[in-house]
């Protein structure tokens, strides 16, 4: 499993990359592996929407299951990677780079501290089997 050290992770398997006050959000390698082949993504939020930690941001469907993507932090949506809708398999192929979902201007940057670092997330995933 690939868990980049420069990201933070939520218990619901989203990653966050922090750059100043901007957070990029996606789903982890563990999440895409558990879902298996992803065939559909629907974004629930648009640019300028205000979101609260825990909100359902998107729905992802694989051949096995459907799952919500939950907001790991609060803030305002700056960008949506809408092109993924046409090539949802990118979430399997490149979950940390090409398959980012949202860029969010954080309203509570301290929430990042509540997220796990890579080592803690690896341990958390290990314990789920």
């Amino acid at each position: 499993m690939n868990t980049p050290a420069n990201l933070r992770y939520a218990k619901t398997d989203e990653w966050v990359k922090v750059d100043g006050n901007i957070a990029t959000v996606g789903i982890s390698d563990y999440a895409q592996d558990q879902l298996s082949d992803i065939v559909f993504i629907e974004f629930n939020r648009e640019i300028d929407d205000v979101i609260t930690k825990g909100d359902a941001l998107a729905t992802i469907e694989s051949v096995k299951a459907a799952a919500d993507v939950n907001a790991p932090i609060s803030g305002k949506v700056l960008e949506v990677n809408e092109g993924l809708s046409d090539i949802p398999e990118t979430l399997n192929d490149d979950p940390y780079e090409k398959a980012w979902l949202y860029k969010i201007e954080m309203s509570k940057p301290d929430e990042v501290n509540e997220l796990m670092d890579a080592a803690a997330y690896d341990q958390y995933c290990e314990g789920r089997h």
Partner: protein, 486 residues
């Protein structure tokens, strides 16, 4: 061998039927309504009969083999159900006939209502819902109507255990509620601490599948119901797994407020492509006035000379009609036939054998497959289709390989709380020999997974077509035969 499509069998100009010369004057349609091109296949009658016979021979059904599809209760559909449903008095009636002319059909509906009330422990029931999830939606709409009738508009959430049936969150959302996830504890019961934390005056209710999709009876069911009731919520029972409980316990007695019953699972009517479902909805006394309109009842008791007259009554605060006419009447006839053929003791035997068969299979298989919730099960159980020593093998590979042994695969990848789930429900219909054959095949597959994994990866080998491309099937939807001209 694959069967060509009917279009591939077509030969230009070939005909299966010739119309006689009309003996009335021709009345042609206006030209603009006549299409120039109608790309239908052209075959002889015999070619058509053979084509569809070949296709039907490739079907897999409960009539052709073991079908342990967890949560679906694929039990035998007794032939007498079909005989009774085809009696002219049932098959040839119309729901708009005057009630005096369809008294027999109304008696059948009344008798089924009474039987299901006795079996489930509820005082009122509607036979209208067309299937299980339809029953759920109606039940959740009744929950909403109940709270609103008390002027309580702030209850907007429904709690859904992660071991519930997958349709429960969908039904809640469709009725306008927020679906709130409720985790299970390590024994597969509802997590009581979390339940207490979530229960407040914003909760409309809880939807509980019991036994749940792990095949486990919640050990704290009375406490769960009590906690929800104390918070002012209602408890919905998903009766899809009622096959484990007949004559043993009644959800109404346990304190559930609402329950849907799947006639096409528990009461042996055909499903899985073989016929429509039927999901009668039973409710407790305080919800009876909200049931769909109308219900069947005795509207004139009659006297020594005149028999009682059956007809329709209209619940006072009904949420309205939810199905055209009176539900799937042919299924109602079959279910009543099954209940009367079994009798009360027979129904209890059904559940006891269903539970015994599941525990027998579980005991045979738990040495070869990981059983994450290792407890006595009810009518089904869930294994993991994955081994640490065979990292490339998944539940899907096990399921596909079972087809090579002439067996229908179990439900896979559900419930989501089990990694690589294989959910197995044998039902009461199967003999010990059939169960032993299945267990033997499953153990061989477990061995193959370690020694010849390619056999699983490439399975199925013995079916008309091999491994299908599930990603392509889910992504490239072809919704019509051809693209209409713009």
């Amino acid at each position: 061998m694959t069967e060509p499509t009917i279009y591939e069998l077509s030969s230009a100009g070939r005909k299966g039927f010739t119309f006689a010369e009309p003996d009335v004057p021709a009345f042609p349609l206006p030209d603009e309504f006549i299409r120039k091109d109608l790309p239908l296949p052209e075959l002889s009658e015999l070619d058509v009969v053979r084509h569809f016979t070949h296709l039907s021979q490739k079907n897999y059904s409960i009539d052709s083999g073991f079908y342990p599809l967890g949560s679906c209760t694929m039990k035998y559909n007794p032939r007498i159900n079909e005989v009774v449903a085809r009696l002219n008095g049932f098959a040839q009636v119309h729901p708009l006939q005057p009630i005096e002319t369809v008294q027999g059909s109304l008696v059948v509906m009344y008798m089924l209502q009474e039987a299901l009330k006795e079996i489930s422990g509820f005082p009122a029931i509607s036979l209208q819902p067309a299937a299980g999830a339809h029953g759920e939606l109606v039940g959740v709409l009744i929950m909403r109507a109940y709270h609103l009738s008390h002027g309580d508009a702030k209850r907007k959430k429904i709690l859904l255990p992660d071991s519930a049936h997958g349709t429960n969150p969908a039904s809640s959302s469709m009725a306008g509620f927020e679906a709130v996830h409720l985790p299970s504890d390590a024994r597969g019961n509802v997590d009581l601490a979390k339940l207490k934390e979530l229960c407040d005056d914003t909760i409309a209710g809880l939807m509980l599948t019991n036994p749940n999709t792990l095949g486990l009876f919640d050990e704290h069911v009375l406490e769960v119901i009590d906690i929800v009731h104390k918070a002012g919520g209602l408890v919905y029972g998903d009766g899809a797994n009622l096959n484990a409980l007949l004559g043993i316990t009644r959800p109404g007695d346990l304190g559930f407020d609402i329950l849907h019953i799947n006639l096409h699972k528990t009461f042996s009517t055909p499903h899985g492509g073989g016929g429509p479902g039927s999901g009668p909805l039973a409710v407790a006394e305080h919800l009876a006035d909200f049931l769909p309109d109308p219900l069947v009842d005795i509207i004139d008791p009659g006297d020594e000379e005149t028999p009682p007259l059956y007809g329709f009554i209209h619940p006072k605060k009904s949420i309205g009609r939810i199905k055209s006419f009176h539900g799937h009447f042919g299924i109602i006839v079959r279910a009543l036939t099954y209940i009367l053929m079994q009798g009360a003791e027979g129904l209890r035997d059904v559940s006891e054998m269903a539970v015994l068969n599941a525990n027998y299979l579980m005991a045979l298989l738990k040495g070869s497959y990981h059983l994450p919730y290792d407890r006595d099960c009810m009518h089904e159980f869930v294994l993991e289709g994955v081994w640490p020593e065979a990292p490339d093998i998944h539940a899907l590979d096990v399921a596909k390989r079972l087809m090579d042994y002439g067996l229908h695969p179990p439900t896979n990848y559900f419930p989501l709380i089990v990694n690589e789930a294989l959910m197995i429900e044998p039902t009461e219909s199967e003999s010990k020999q059939t169960l032993d054959y299945f267990a033997d095949a499953m153990r061989k597959i477990a061995k193959e997974a370690h020694e010849q994994p390619e056999l699983l990866h490439e399975a199925p080998h013995a079916t008309p077509v091999g491994r299908l491309d599930e990603v392509k099937a889910a992504k490239d939807l072809v919704l019509c035969c051809w693209r209409p001209e713009e």
